[in-house]
């Protein structure tokens, strides 16, 4: 039972990471109509910058700041130099240009840091585990990720529903011309939203550092999973992204933890492990297929 609870918490932790990425992706698409494949690169940049600085200085805090700064800088640079020219272009151009950005970022990181993954250890104050319920020791670091993710979600909720910027973001996602007509500096708004998305991606990347390997290609792996989250939750919906992230995070983690064991009842050990790993990595895509069959616009979108 405690093991099951632990797996559920791991699922929530993965879900929270997915949310940090999905929120930015869906905001950028919802308000600017741009699909940004290089969103995963911002995650990678945050991870590399933060991990490297934390490793060099020994300060986790400086690491966080470094991750934020690098991701935000890269994000604003991408927006200013490339994405800004893609508003109003068709999706094909957006996909190809941002695919080009992925290649550039991946190779640049390889040139700077080499092909070996970077590792960083959990900072001392977050090391160790605490007993959440009797008998369940859960790593403090993962718990922190969950808390940070939930705080960010709450903050985004407030930002979007209670502030003027949020009002513009909401209006902008349904009616771009209206926002323009209100005399808002739409370019500034776009840059801000893009920067915010980049910050969240950088944060996720940095937090992933101590529990996953920091390596080239990490961004695309999680990006594709994030796409599934966005499709399941409904494009443009932060709320949908939140619930879909947690749901898929838990399902994915649960499948990986339990499917090979279940298969071992019917197959030989190594084959069961391989097939179990394969099918469990397919699980979220199958869920996406089912969602497309019953609610093609996403689980959390109003059906019109």
């Amino acid at each position: 039972m405690t093991l099951f609870l632990e797996q559920m918490l791991n699922g929530v932790q993965f879900g929270v990471m997915l949310f940090l990425l999905a929120a930015g992706l869906t905001l950028v698409f919802g308000i600017m109509g741009v699909i940004n494949l290089a969103h995963g690169s911002l995650y990678m940049i945050g991870a590399y910058a933060g991990t490297w600085i934390a490793g060099e200085t020994g300060s986790f805090l400086l690491g966080i700041l470094g991750a934020f700064a690098a991701a935000a800088l890269a994000g604003v640079a991408i927006e200013y130099l490339v994405v800004r020219r893609l508003y109003g272009r068709d999706h094909l151009d957006q996909v190809l240009a941002t695919f080009g950005l992925i290649l550039i970022f991946n190779q640049t990181i390889t040139l700077i840091f080499g092909r070996q993954p970077l590792f960083v250890s959990v900072p001392a104050i977050l090391d160790g585990s605490i007993e959440i319920v009797p008998g369940l020791e859960y790593p403090l670091y993962r718990l922190t990720i969950i808390v940070v993710g939930l705080l960010v979600a709450a903050g985004l909720y407030l930002l979007i529903n209670k502030t003027r910027i949020g009002m513009l973001v909401r209006a902008g996602s349904t009616n771009r011309d209206m926002v323009r007509a209100l005399g808002v500096d739409i370019r500034l708004l776009y840059t801000l939203v893009f920067g915010l998305g980049a910050l969240l991606a950088g944060l996720a990347g940095f937090m992933a550092g101590p529990i996953m390997a920091v390596q080239v290609g990490m961004g695309e792996q999680i990006l594709i999973t994030t796409f599934v989250v966005v499709v399941v939750g409904g494009v443009g919906s932060i709320r949908g992204a939140f619930f879909a992230s947690l749901f898929l995070g838990v399902v994915d983690t649960g499948l990986r933890a339990y499917l090979p064991g279940l298969l071992r009842h019917v197959l030989a050990g190594s084959e069961a492990d391989a097939l179990g790993a394969g099918i469990s990595s397919m699980g979220i895509y199958l869920i996406m297929a089912i969602v497309l069959l019953i609610r093609p616009k996403g689980l959390f979108m109003p059906n019109s």
Partner: protein
């Protein structure tokens, strides 16, 4: 001469010249001592078939699929799996005998990838626009994971095909022969594609790209046509994948990797979206660029990224349009 025939002859002549050059290519390669040219050209032809297939949905139908590597890989694995069962002598699923005959494996690859395209297309076309991109990418990734987990067929490491498929009367171990087989198939494929593009089907497909709303309003069940285009396109990629597996004598999850889908799109845009020969030209540019850049640096993709960014942001219509503009200026 009527304007119509004059128009087609003006297009036919350069095509024939290119064809003559392609037929002579292996001899030119030998004469110049640059024998690697033949294998390079074989890869160009195979990727050209794949890119031209993708272009049918991308350029003519306006559907941005980021998952076409899936069909390329499925075509390759069809050849590989049939070959493995042929060498082991045990039928696939207990009733499908393995084979090493190209005349069977190619149609099989086309049919199987067509079936996968039907399933993925039917699901992806339930939405459009940006979701379509994400969904095709996601499903291709799913199949990637599937093949990685299939230990029976090599898993991560892929599937080695010890000998290329046999074609009666030809020595398929000879690189030059493989080149000519690929050339013949590519020419045939381009001919079929050019008919499809100009047919009633191609006409409504192009109409759908220009305005889906208009096509629905004149009574076209739009989604059926998009799906059929998607299936044809998947079949073409499957054919290319089957040829590639024969050429490399190897099928691996790499064929389905999402970057391969990206590369196919890059070829299409380099050559010119929505043109018949553009994707072949784009494949040639891509392959040559790849081998040039990678001979200088192992980080050749950095250069590719920069070029891609430039092409998308600053040229309209890829290399073919660029050539056209230069020709008009000259």
């Amino acid at each position: 001469m009527t304007p119509q025939t004059e128009h087609s002859s003006r297009r036919l002549l350069p095509a024939l010249a290119v064809l003559a050059l392609l037929i002579a290519l292996p001899y030119l390669a030998q004469a110049t001592g640059y024998t690697a040219m033949t294998t390079l050209a074989t890869r160009v032809l195979i990727y050209g078939i794949a890119a031209a297939s993708l272009n049918l949905v991308l350029g003519y139908g306006g559907m941005v699929s980021f998952g076409h590597a899936a069909f390329f890989g499925i075509g390759g694995y069809t050849v590989g799996i049939l070959y493995q069962h042929y060498t082991l002598g045990e039928p696939l699923f207990g009733f499908i005998p393995g084979t090493n005959q190209l005349l069977i494996t190619l149609p099989a690859a086309i049919v199987v990838s067509g079936l996968f395209a039907a399933a993925i297309g039917a699901l992806s076309l339930r939405t459009g626009g940006v979701q379509f991109i994400m969904i095709t990418l996601a499903f291709a990734q799913m199949l990637f994971f599937l093949f990685v987990s299939l230990k029976t067929y090599g898993g991560d490491d892929g599937l080695i095909i010890r000998r290329a498929n046999e074609l009666p009367g030809l020595n398929m171990r000879d690189k030059q022969t493989v080149y000519y087989v690929c050339l013949a198939i590519a020419v045939l494929f381009a001919l079929v594609l050019s008919r499809i593009i100009r047919s009633r089907f191609g006409n409504v497909l192009s109409g759908i790209r220009q305005s889906e709303k208009r096509m629905a309003a004149i009574g076209l069940p739009v989604n059926s046509y998009k799906l059929v285009a998607f299936i044809i396109s998947g079949m073409g990629c499957g054919l290319a994948g089957a040829l590639m597996a024969n050429f490399l004598r190897f099928a691996s999850p790499d064929m389905l990797h999402w970057t391969k889908s990206g590369e196919l799109m890059v070829m299409v845009i380099l050559g010119g979206v929505g043109t018949l020969f553009g994707p072949f030209l784009g494949a040639a540019v891509f392959i040559v660029l790849e081998s040039l850049l990678s001979s200088w640096t192992e980080n050749w993709q950095l250069g590719l990224g920069v070029i891609l960014l430039f092409v998308v942001l600053y040229t309209q219509g890829g290399v073919q349009a660029l050539l056209g503009r230069l020709r008009r200026r000259a």
